[in-house]
């Protein structure tokens, strides 16, 4: 496969401003198929901005740099086109949408991808079976099926729902924005099991996280430390442990 030579995601010298303020400042990063990358960094270092820019959220101005996905210009694609090409963003703060049913959204999302690939819509009955199977994996109750998107969910339930959506959509590139924050240890293990179940040589995952705790359960191939909008340090998973021990001051001081 050529995947090992052409990275799935290649970010080159990315500069991004938000309301005139420089957030990403020459970020360069490559993620190969089959890899799990962790992006760590102190608050305000630009982690979430990176996740949102990759998903195509409006309000971010890209002033320089390129992002290619599967060898194509990712930034030229609308958010929904990115999703249909296999890019998935797990939100840090998933939004509640009362009145739009969870399963309806899941099915609409899957059918959007299938339409892109020239496939017919999913069979409703089979699809429900698949959703139920993934729900069991994510420890999500049956009542989920009849509820609105994230409606009245606790913080942990919302995060598990993000991972459930990811499992059903089977993206090629998953970007999880602080999916571990606010989870207790049991929920963290469930989320980690979900992420691990999707690991494969064709897929890649970018975990944006503040703490190394999640990385005990989802072991990354590469850890990047983001400081003031650029990668200040990279290493294997022992870097995350070292960060935990020495604190972010260690790298922020070094990068200054």
């Amino acid at each position: 496969m050529t995947a090992s030579r052409t990275p799935l995601l290649a970010i080159n010298d990315l500069h991004v401003t938000v309301e005139g303020k420089q957030i990403l400042n020459g970020l360069t990063l490559q993620v190969g198929a089959g890899e799990v990358h962790a992006i760590m960094g102190p608050n305000g270092s630009g982690k979430s901005t990176l996740a949102h820019v990759l998903a195509g959220r409006p309000g971010y101005e890209i002033t320089a740099g390129t992002v290619s996905y599967e060898g194509r210009d990712l930034l030229a694609l609308a958010p929904e086109e990115r999703a249909r090409q296999g890019v998935f963003l797990g939100f840090q703060y998933p939004v509640e949408i009362p009145g739009v049913n969870n399963v309806y959204l899941l099915k609409a999302a899957v059918n959007a991808v299938r339409k892109q690939r020239g496939l017919p819509e999913v069979d409703a009955f089979e699809f429900l079976g698949l959703v139920r199977e993934k729900m069991r994996l994510m420890h999500i109750e049956d009542s989920f099926l009849s509820r609105g998107v994230n409606e009245g969910f606790s913080g942990g339930e919302k995060k598990r729902n993000e991972v459930l959506q990811m499992l059903v959509l089977e993206p090629r590139l998953a970007i999880l924005d602080e999916t571990d924050s606010g989870l207790d240890i049991d929920a963290l293990k469930v989320v980690a099991a979900g992420v691990n179940s999707l690991r494969s040589p064709e897929r890649a995952c970018v975990l944006v996280t503040h703490y190394q705790r999640l990385l005990e359960y989802v072991v990354p191939d590469i850890v990047h430390v983001l400081v003031r909008g650029r990668i200040a340090k990279r290493g294997d998973r022992t870097l995350a442990l070292e960060l935990e021990r020495r604190g972010y001051d260690w790298v922020t001081g070094e990068a200054a």
């Binding site: 990115r82 998935f88 949408i97 009145g99 999302a109």
Partner: protein, 439 residues
């Protein structure tokens, strides 16, 4: 007020009823009403609570009751709701052939034309069925009372099962031929229970003029669920006035779904007269093209510890104007009042107009009143969330419009009615039904 409009109303009234024999109590009320109307005149756009209503059509409308027009058949009517007796009125007149009468001893439904004294409050109960003492905002009820020749008088007694009743008002005449005056006089005795569907539809494409008046008296401990659907043809002009009194420990749930007509104005006046009266007043209005959907809802707390929940969800698209003016007045004899207002409007087009106005007047202490009002565009965070899952922008927008309305519609407990409402709303926001999967 000797305006040309009131002069014309008076003249049409005289021409209409001069020939008819006197008809007892109804005749007397008709005379009182026309006198009161002549003195007060109809509201104008200069009146405080009328500036969003479309009053211009009044200049060219005819006020005489519409003569019998095309015969209406059962196929012109919406599907029946299982378990509900149906009473059909065509251009305000009872149509027994289209109706399926109630098979319950706990309730009596009488056509006003057949029994002109029916529906009148028994001695000792304040009469709510006359609009003559109505406030300035309820003057269209006077117009109805002056011209209506028929209507439904309903009296419900206590029973362990709620009575289920649908009133279907069909407008078939063109406004140039005459007006349709749907009329309901409803009384729930103490501990009575009623599920009432009041539905206004058109038979055929005629641009009808409809002026409906509804009076509601919910007695001690009684429970009323009242679903009001305005689904008239696109050219129709409708003025609607509802006056309700809710007694001690009584519960009134009022849902209004207004999607039809060219121009619709609804005036809802509810007085919580008894201690612990409990009111839910929820209105959904959809405007598109050049439609006007205007609602004025006034809730008066006149007794201690009563509760109000006032909800509005409106979408204005095209060049429509959608307005909701929700007023809650807490009188000096209403300590312990608990009122909530959640009024939300959605602007779905650059040329659409939306006016959402919460008003609160409090004349006592110890009350809990909260209100939230928003008028804006679709939530950007929700929209991006759906796009990030691969949905087309048009699909995502339709889905969010749907969700916005579903917030209220999902609370309608009559399943078949809810299905019909959802079907119609889905059609209007061009969204295939987004119902929950059967789990």
């Amino acid at each position: 007020m000797g305006t040309p409009l009131t002069a014309r109303i008076l003249e049409e009234h005289a021409n209409t009823f001069r020939a008819l024999p006197p008809a007892g109590a109804m005749e007397a009320r008709r005379r009182t009403a026309i006198e009161a109307l002549t003195a007060s005149g109809l509201p104008t756009s200069r009146d405080e609570n009328w500036k969003y209503a479309n009053l211009r059509p009044l200049e060219r409308l005819r006020f005489i009751p519409a003569p019998a027009a095309q015969p209406v058949t059962a196929t012109d009517l919406p599907a029946a709701i299982p378990g509900f007796a149906r009473y059909v009125f065509v251009d305000g007149a009872f149509a027994p052939a289209l109706s399926a009468a109630l098979n319950a001893t706990a309730a009596a439904v009488t056509a006003l034309a057949a029994a002109p004294d029916a529906g009148r409050a028994p001695a000792g109960v304040p009469a709510q069925t006359s609009a003559a003492g109505a406030s300035a905002d309820e003057r269209f009820a006077l117009l109805n009372e002056a011209f209506a020749t028929d209507g439904a008088a309903i009296r419900v007694a206590a029973h362990h099962e709620p009575v289920r009743l649908e009133l279907l008002f069909v407008a078939s005449a063109d406004a140039l031929a005459g007006a349709s005056y749907p009329r309901v006089e409803l009384q729930l005795d103490s501990q009575a229970q009623l599920l009432l569907i009041e539905r206004h539809v058109s038979a055929g494409p005629h641009a009808s003029f409809v002026n409906s008046a509804v009076t509601v008296d919910v007695g001690f401990g009684a429970r009323l669920h009242h679903y009001r659907l305005q689904e008239l043809a696109p050219g129709a002009i409708v003025f609607d006035t509802l006056c309700a009194v809710v007694g001690r420990d009584a519960c009134y749930r009022l849902y209004g779904i207004s999607t039809g007509a060219q121009s619709a104005r609804s005036t809802l006046a509810v007085r919580l007269a008894g201690e612990r009266a409990d009111l839910t007043l929820a209105v959904v209005a959809l405007g598109d093209r050049q439609q006007v959907q205007d609602t004025y809802a006034r809730v008066e707390h006149a007794a201690p510890r009563a509760r109000t929940e006032q909800v509005f969800r409106g979408i204005s698209a095209g060049r429509a104007r959608v307005a909701f003016n929700g007023k809650i007045v807490v009188g000096k004899d209403a300590p312990g009042t608990d009122s909530r207002q959640s009024l939300r409007g959605l602007l779905a087009g650059p040329q659409a107009e939306l006016d959402v106005r919460p008003q609160l007047e409090i004349y006592t202490d110890e009350v809990r009143c909260s209100h939230g009002a928003t008028a804006g565009k679709l939530d950007e965070n929700m929209l991006f969330y759906l796009l990030s899952r691969g949905l087309e922008p048009e699909v995502a927008q339709r889905l969010l419009k749907w969700a916005f309305l579903e917030d209220v519609v999902a609370k309608i407990e009559v399943a078949e009615l809810r299905r019909q409402i959802e079907e119609r709303l889905a059609l209007q926001v061009h969204e295939p039904l987004a119902r929950a999967e059967s789990a």
